[in-house]
Amino acid sequence: SAVISQKPSRDICQRGTSLTIQCQVDSQVTMMFWYRQQPGQSLTLIATANQGSEATYESGFVIDKFPISRPNLTFSTLTVSNMSPEDSSIYLCSVREGAGNTIYFGEGSWLTVV
């Protein structure tokens, strides 16, 4: 199974700043995704990170707020821009291996905006 590492694991951020979260996978994967889990809530898909092209965003999420990069098949970043307290959430990277059936999640990045 894929091993997914996220950095940072936790951070406390000032309002108005931006933070970039990194997701590193130990093998090449075709599909990478970013999710948000607000406190006490379920997970919501932010976007699909496409290798070599712009990410595909879900309804309610925009590139200016959540720019995503995916330079290769093992790495992606998510930036949370101009943060407000409402952005306090867990941000999770997810991958599907090739044509495999299981979808794995990273450990998550816990962000608190003050």
């Binding site: 995704f33 898909l45 999770l92 998550g108």
Partner: protein, 116 residues
């Protein structure tokens, strides 16, 4: 829009008892996932159900999928305290060509507490 609904949202169980968590979804899909999340942790994959009638079991947990009813169940047998966690079901919607997107729509989660 795909919607996934779990019930109950909160489940308080006595050790040794059995119970079932239900997961209903609104559009055609034959790929259903169950995850467990402990407080302060990420998601742990429990089951992947890939076809109508699929049944999988691991320890005290058994999951099933009825694609015609658009329903999956997670059955807990003889609950123990270690099963206390939040359980999520998630649906992966295929496109018209039958390809799985790999993008998951999650249910609200069921917070399970097992007490003596």
């Amino acid at each position: 829009e795909l919607k996934v609904e779990q019930n109950p949202l909160f489940l308080s169980m006595q050790e040794g008892k059995n119970y079932t968590i239900y997961c209903n979804y609104s559009t055609t899909s034959d790929r259903l996932y169950w995850y467990r999340q402990d407080p302060g942790k990420s998601l742990e994959s429990l089951f992947v159900l890939l076809s109508n009638g699929a049944v999988k079991q691991e320890g005290r947990l058994m999951a099933s999928l009825d694609t015609k009813a658009r329903l999956s169940t997670l059955h807990i047998t003889a609950a123990v305290h270690d099963l206390s966690a939040t359980y999520f079901c998630a649906v992966d919607k295929r496109n018209a060509g039958g390809t799985s997107y790999g993008k998951l729509t999650f249910g609200q989660g069921t917070i399970l507490t097992v007490h003596p």
